[in-house]
């Protein structure tokens, strides 16, 4: 009960501060929009090329945008040493991670859903008929990115060269998520859409393993 109520209070704080400052959402939306638009104008892909390369491009844009979004996740707790105040206040430190990763997943998912119609129009790829399964893969992929990214953000926030460290650690670690998410999206955006269950299974397993690891070892990441 304590974990749930602490997570709830902290999630409220994360959402409130973000919707007041809009720092993370603005950065991610602008970044993904730029990648999608620039790629479309530069390569002017055909219908077939769009279906073939679109999912990979989309997930690469999501991944790089996430690395931008996750950077300040723990860094901004250092401005006023609020992380110490949180550590002194919560009975279960996992609540700090849980609130942050839920907030990051919500922000990332929100951005992805906002960008989907633009992608669909620019690349002439219909998405409405597969929106349900697409939402599931967006959710599972974003959750995986957020779990690993939140943990690595806590590590990199305490290190020197922290701006470099997070992408250096995050991108190789998330390569399997990128591959699986792209494969599933590729199947869904095919002329005859199909669900790549193996990819979905992999994403579920990745999320479960990393969430368990964070639950078990997260406390040590917050120590000074």
């Amino acid at each position: 009960m304590s974990l749930l109520s602490s997570t709830n209070a902290l999630l409220g704080k994360e959402l409130r501060t973000e919707f007041r400052s809009r720092e993370l959402l603005t950065t991610t939306v602008v970044f993904i929009l730029m990648v999608i638009v620039l790629f479309s104008f530069t390569f002017d892909p055909t219908y077939t090329e769009s279906r073939r390369f679109g999912p990979g491009l989309l997930w690469l844009a999501f991944l790089f945008a996430a690395s931008l979004m996750l950077q300040p996740c723990f860094l901004r707790e250092q401005n006023n040493d609020t992380l110490s105040a949180l550590r002194l206040s919560v009975s279960d430190p996992f609540a700090i991670f849980l609130a942050k990763l839920i907030a990051n997943t919500v922000f990332l998912l929100f951005t992805e859903l906002l960008m989907l119609p633009i992608f669909s129009i620019l690349y002439n790829v219909p998405v409405l008929r597969v929106f349900g399964p697409l939402f599931v893969v967006f959710f599972l992929g974003s959750l995986g990115v957020s779990i690993a990214g939140t943990a690595l953000s806590a590590i990199s926030a305490q290190a020197r060269l922290r701006e470099l460290l997070l992408p250096l650690l995050l991108l190789p670690l998330l390569t399997p998520v990128l591959v699986a998410s792209t494969q599933v999206t590729l199947g869904l955006l095919d002329a005859s859409p199909y669900v790549e269950w193996k990819g979905i299974g992999f994403l579920v397993a990745f999320d479960a393993v990393f969430l368990t690891a964070l639950w078990l070892f997260g406390e040590y990441l917050l120590e000074e």
């Binding site: 602490s6 209070a9 902290l10 409130r16 400052s21 609020t82 105040a85 002194l88 009975s91 000074e224």
Partner: protein, 241 residues
């Protein structure tokens, strides 16, 4: 500050050591602070004051040694600790405010009260906002506050769970004379109600006048410890010498 008295709790450092790699920040600190005592820590930058306070708060784990929080009755019997760490016993005020700029004063206090599962959350927050003189500004974002007002929010946050020990790390940093006077008054009131205080200070001020005991640290070791009035003033006056 009109709350009732505190349940008296002391702090006992038993051979506390803290090393960061090869650097010893604290060396075999043996120190007992009696319940209700107001102790000032003095010393140059890097002498170990902040590390000692953060260990007492439970934010930093010592490399070796033991930290205990004996209650007044148990101290007289030389008994064991009342808590394994400082989370429940101590309130911590640092020179960083430890509150969120993007939240209002009231939202900040409500958040930390919920996390600490403080009974009667809303009433407790209202009471503290009145006591620190910020009730009228409770709906303003903390980023719009002056340094002095932020420090008031920080004090209110540290007192939310009515801690019997207050740890203060250079609490007057950046405060103007009016801010220092307010802080000194608030701390005097807490001290008079039996709150145990351990604070790091630089030089003599209205706040240092509250100390009944002064300890000087140098290179992570206690080099002076006195409760004699004149010597307390002397240690605090020449802390940076």
């Amino acid at each position: 500050m009109t709350s009732p008295g505190f349940s008296p709790t002391g702090i006992r450092f038993e051979n506390i050591e803290k090393r960061y790699g090869g650097l010893a920040a604290l060396r075999r600190i043996r120190l007992e602070i009696a319940p209700g005592e107001c102790v000032a820590l003095a010393g140059r930058n890097g002498s170990g004051k902040t590390t000692l306070l953060r260990i007492a708060a439970g934010l930093v784990k010592p490399s070796s040694g033991e930290l205990t929080f004996p209650s007044s009755s148990k101290v007289s019997r030389g008994a064991q600790a009342t808590a394994p760490h400082g989370k429940n016993a101590a309130g911590f005020v640092a020179h960083a405010t430890m509150v969120y700029d993007e939240l209002t004063a009231e939202e900040n206090l409500l958040l930390f009260a919920k996390l600490q599962q403080t009974p009667g959350t809303a009433a407790r927050v209202d009471k503290l906002l009145h006591e620190v003189g910020l009730y009228e500004r409770r709906a303003s974002l903390v980023r719009t506050f002056s340094r002095g007002m932020r420090q008031r929010v920080a004090i209110a946050r540290a007192l939310l769970h009515e801690p019997s020990i207050l740890l203060l790390d250079e609490p007057s940093t950046g405060l103007d004379p009016q801010g220092v006077a307010w802080l000194a008054g608030a701390l005097r009131d807490l001290r008079d109600r039996g709150c145990t205080m351990l604070m790091s200070l630089h030089g003599e001020s209205e706040i240092s006048m509250l100390a009944t005991r002064a300890i000087r640290l140098d290179a992570g070791m206690i080099v002076a410890d006195t409760s004699t009035g004149a010597e307390v003033r002397s240690i605090l006056t020449f802390a940076d010498a």
